[in-house]
Symmetry: C2
Subunit: 371 residues, 2 copies
């Protein structure tokens, strides 16, 4: 019998699964054509360097709530299935980020060049024909597509995983988990679409920002992973619904924290340039609160301080408006309210105290972070 291990060991175990997954898939690409290996390597480099494995942590936390112990011994089918689902969700995340970086025209991610910029550089280095920038975008679209397709293959056990097993149907995912997986992917893709549309249409409302937060982040990052883990553990409908509610609370707090870090974060800690969200023109809840609460001059500063390259002094001016208008304090209040609501609901969960403690730790980790 394997020893029960700590929730915080999950990221390392998932990294191992992902690493061995990329080792196992490299020959598949090579057999198609040696030059396709570039594509696999770009995806591997992206997935393996960075990422906090937040979604896998919530999958395991949800599974623990449903009564499954975390053992991380890789032989039993149930543990293998959970690790496979966690690795799959990290590939969805890779697709979301690689494509999002094209949409946002971001140059860096986690302190390194984004995938489209890497392929743009490769095109230049090799002195190839045509538009390097368009080549970078094209290659990155296809890298994201591969991540999305492979995510499903992993989820359904159709590709080799870290546990050294041949792909096979030895333990098909329960249909309830497949249904949550489906819902989660539709939600994140709809959330991204909403985000892009709100940015283009200049929708400054708090409601618009909230819908994006709910679907692009809260559901996808916390609520659905929790539910997914719970279904793997055989949770009933009422536990699943309660975990979903907790996940939305915590997920919105997570995104509000992210919005604050996107404007006020330290580049050395976040790995993103200073004021990155402003330059990208993101319609965040923070910005919506600033526009609603600032005076006319302040609102002008905010509107002229988004969606274009900014000098340090301009970033400082936007920060001042957001702070002085009370928008920052308002966001901190909302974060505390959502986090506390989540924590109260965690206390009331009908499950193991270990499982509740794990959830509490994650709740603090994602809402009090600085990176």
């Amino acid at each position: 019998m394997s020893a029960v291990v700590n929730l915080m060991d999950v990221p390392v175990a998932v990294d191992e699964v992902l690493d061995e997954f990329f080792q196992a898939t490299a020959p598949i690409l090579e057999s198609i054509h040696p030059s396709v290996i570039d594509k696999g390597q770009a995806l591997r480099a992206f997935v393996m360097t960075g990422g906090k494995r937040i979604r896998p942590l919530f999958v395991y936390a949800g599974r623990q709530c449903a009564g499954d112990k975390i053992t991380m011994s890789k032989t039993p089918d149930a543990e293998r299935e959970a690790l496979r689902v966690c690795a799959a969700i990290e590939l969805i995340q890779a697709c979301a980020l690689v494509h999002d970086d094209i949409l946002d025209r971001s140059d860096t991610r986690r302190g390194r060049p984004t995938v489209h910029r890497r392929f743009e550089a490769l095109h230049r280095d090799r002195g190839w024909d045509g538009d390097a920038r368009h080549f970078g975008d094209s290659a990155a679209i296809l890298v994201g597509d591969l991540a999305l397709a492979w995510a499903d293959d992993l989820f359904h056990g159709a590709l080799p995983t870290a546990v050294g097993a041949q792909p096979g149907p030895d333990r098909p995912v329960p249909f309830a988990a497949t249904a949550v997986w489906s819902q989660m992917r539709t939600e994140v893709l709809a959330g991204q679409f909403l985000d892009v549309t709100n940015e283009a249409s200049g929708d400054e409302s708090v409601t618009a920002a909230e819908q994006v937060m709910t679907y692009k982040t809260a559901a996808y990052t916390v609520a659905r992973p929790l539910e997914l883990g719970a279904t793997l553990g055989g949770a009933d409908e009422s536990l699943r619904a309660e975990l979903h509610g907790i996940g939305i609370d915590l997920g919105i707090a997570f995104q509000l924290r992210d919005d604050l870090l996107g404007v006020f974060g330290d580049p050395a800690e976040t790995g993103k340039p200073s004021g990155d969200d402003l330059v990208a023109g993101k319609r965040t809840a923070l910005l919506a609160a600033g526009l609603a609460q600032a005076d006319e001059t302040g609102a002008r500063t905010l509107r002229s301080g988004i969606g274009r390259p900014l000098a340090d002094a301009e970033i400082a001016a936007v920060r001042a408006v957001l702070t002085e208008s009370g928008a920052v304090a308002e966001m901190e209040r909302q974060i505390a309210r959502r986090r506390d609501s989540g924590l109260a609901r965690i206390d009331a969960l009908d499950c193991d105290e270990d499982a509740r403690a794990g959830l509490r730790t994650l709740a603090h980790r994602i809402t009090d972070r600085t990176s």
Copy 2:
């Protein structure tokens, strides 16, 4: 007992499934946010207007080779499963085409504006902020992603289908089919990547063009759909392998015909502008043969006649070189050879004469076409 129907009724039945699928998924998007309906409608319009449903025809042909009759009565689980898989494959195709059109910067597809151009126009019409072109690309990337995610959901029965049933695991796809599905998606994405890389690196070799044809088209359009159908029908390994071989032969003949139509096709029949492949700079087998067989002046004409907008006289000059160098005749010989090889292998298949007759009809249809 339902009446056995003709293979040629498959496209209409698949269209029905797709149409009802889009009706059933619209409320899912609407529940996320009314503005996301635009995204679903763009995908629906794209999938429902045009497309020859070639891949579904091969899925059914393969299934028939494995002994399954085509009944199209939508109640039995086996028929429902086959229609669902066919609809799923058409969504993969939607993703491939929508993203390919961004990569190729195509303005039209099937005689209508491409998805990225539609969203670009919508951005302009509504007088939105920012770069309309970038918005068009962004929205189309997300539409393609949704198609790819939904394809998997449909394949695994996690979304409602045309047959009016609730999603459910009543008949999970056999694992052998899931494995072919996985292989097929990796191959088409690898083939697209190869294509983009060959275009950028200016690889003019016949080998490079052949690898792209094999993976981007032959495997994905014919060989894997045939195999997928065969696995649904419970075919053994040897029938599957033989169908795969036939599929590669026919699929390459199909692509060579497509290459000829891409340069010589009538826009009224193909729905694409005259000389479209030349303007897009596609590294086709036809071009490779032309470069290998033309004299120095001819080769110069070919190299200067790709990858940029072309006047009618320039297109005519390229056509003349391809014809006079013997490249066109060489392509016709290769098409005939591949088609005849496929037909001979079909004759030798150990299956129902009805199934063989169906395959023969499809073999002629895809290699002798004019659109």
